[in-house]
């Protein structure tokens, strides 16, 4: 399935959408850009730290609510579109439900396990408790309301056509986001035969029954890094930070890298992208699933 078809079919206006769940690596930018191209509105963005993807979606007017621990640009600092939306309501106001990294994880685990809420001792004494209506202080502990995404999008290293995905490197809140979500879209660097995936069932990220679309999208996480495949494109983050300081600069950037680009293959074309490919390969020692 193409990313355009996956977004068209499974990410309607108003979707509660989890992305960027590994924190800094493996961010599904290609999916986010396609969502912008298709002009989605009213999304709720769910994640820990999005490293500029959420900033872009907010700047493009796709989001009405953010349910996250941190929105900005990790190596460069502030998220300028996020600021404009929160401070001046541009391009339109957004509702912010602040979390910490731990509390958004627990909110997703609560949804995954069908728990009415998750009690915790984190966030005690923080004003986040007072501004996020999904958090409540009861009897000396914090109750976190479940957060159930309609859709979670993950960019992984490899998947088979049935959506059995192998992901490696730090996983952040990917597992709980995928388990909690009603539907999962997998974007993958390599589309492989089932035999490759089934040779290592412990590495399979999620049950295939959650996955509604598999998109073969090489470079789908650029400019974020992907273990074994891509280094982080620090310069791209710096360029985005500089240009997105003004609404006009952001519009120009968006035209150049999203609206004026047909798809991810076109986006990835060119020598500067290719230079980011990992050259030093470090293979894992296999394990033995022998059975008889």
């Amino acid at each position: 399935m193409s990313m355009a078809e996956a977004v068209d079919r499974f990410v309607p206006d108003g979707t509660q959408l989890a992305m960027g769940t590994c924190l800094e690596p493996a961010i599904p930018f290609a999916a986010g850009h396609e969502i912008i191209r298709q002009g989605r509105r009213g999304l709720t963005l769910i994640g820990p730290i999005s490293d500029s993807l959420f900033d872009q979606l907010i700047g493009a007017g796709c989001a009405e609510r953010v349910c996250a621990a941190w929105v900005g640009n990790v190596s460069e600092g502030l998220g300028h579109c996020y600021r404009r939306a929160a401070e001046r309501g541009e391009p339109h106001p957004i509702e912010i439900r602040d979390h910490s990294n731990f509390s958004i994880s627990l909110a997703l685990w609560a949804a995954a396990w069908g728990a009415p809420y998750m009690p915790t001792r984190t966030l005690l004494g923080s004003d986040i408790l007072t501004t996020n209506p999904d958090l409540e202080l009861v009897d000396g502990s914090v109750r976190i309301r479940p957060v159930q995404p309609d859709v979670a999008v993950f960019h992984v290293q490899r998947s088979d056509p049935a959506g059995r995905a192998h992901a490696w490197g730090p996983l952040g809140i990917t597992e709980e986001a995928g388990l909690a979500a009603r539907r999962v879209i997998i974007s993958c660097e390599e589309l492989v035969e089932p035999e490759v995936i089934l040779s290592d069932p412990n590495r399979i990220l999620l049950p295939e029954t959650k996955v509604v679309a598999v998109v073969h999208e090489p470079g789908g996480a650029h400019p974020s890094p992907l273990q074994g495949f891509w280094r982080r494109d620090h310069a791209a983050y710096r360029d985005y930070a500089a240009r997105s300081r003004t609404a006009e600069g952001f519009s120009d950037w968006l035209e150049e890298w999203v609206l004026g680009v047909s798809d991810r293959a076109a986006y990835m074309a060119g020598a500067s992208r290719a230079e980011l490919a990992v050259q030093r390969h470090l293979l894992s020692v296999p394990v033995d699933y022998g059975d008889e």
Binding site: A69, A85, N101, S103, R121, G140, T174, E176, R231
Partner: protein
Amino acid sequence: MSEDYTAQELMVTAAAREIRDGELVFVGMRLPILAYGVARSSHAPSARALFELGLMRDAPAPAFLATMGDPPNVAGALWATRMSNVMALLAQGIVDLGFIGGAEVDRFGNLNTSYIGGAIRPATKLPGSGGGADIAILSRRWVALMSHERRRLVDRVSYVTSPGHGDGPGWRARMGLSGGGPTAIVTTMAVLRFPDEGGEAYLASVHPGHTVDEVLAETGWDLAVAPDVGVTPEPSQQELAEIRRLDPQGFWTGRR
């Protein structure tokens, strides 16, 4: 400021001295990654680093990191896992030390990284907590790193993202916070410390090239000064070499 090192490099070495050997350290991003490397290479060779996205390491990554998720931080890790597993160690009270960067801090060490000027239509929307609130509440002790400006070191923050000592000694225990709270604020000008029982920060040492008066002028409350206030030790050549090995372009240390 000396020509031999930047303010950020001094902050890194000051932060590194907060790490004791054998400790489990919640490192986070930016200068603390360098501080962890300096500590490992000198006085804390058996410390362990945790990164909230889901990593534990012993030796620091042998390459520049713009984020904790850069691939060199993963290769050779002692554990690559989920965030909630790393947070479990924090919640169990077995993480000795955490670092948090702050946009705004107050006399009790409360940090604001969320909203300047109120949460409704704020004057400035900052990125938010990330893992900061979790570290501030749950780690055994923590250290803040700040740019020392009067607008950032304020009497009371208007929004507490990551709680320090609240409104004074005993506040954390009353509120049920399990960790010990902040023990130091390392700024671009000075090191502020807190009494063992928590409470209000005091000036412990001033960085070379700065004066007590200058620090007081850039601090937004009547900062107490330790009777034995001294000068923050300068980075050694060995420490600078380690910093520059990990950040050869000076991306984080102001040399870029």
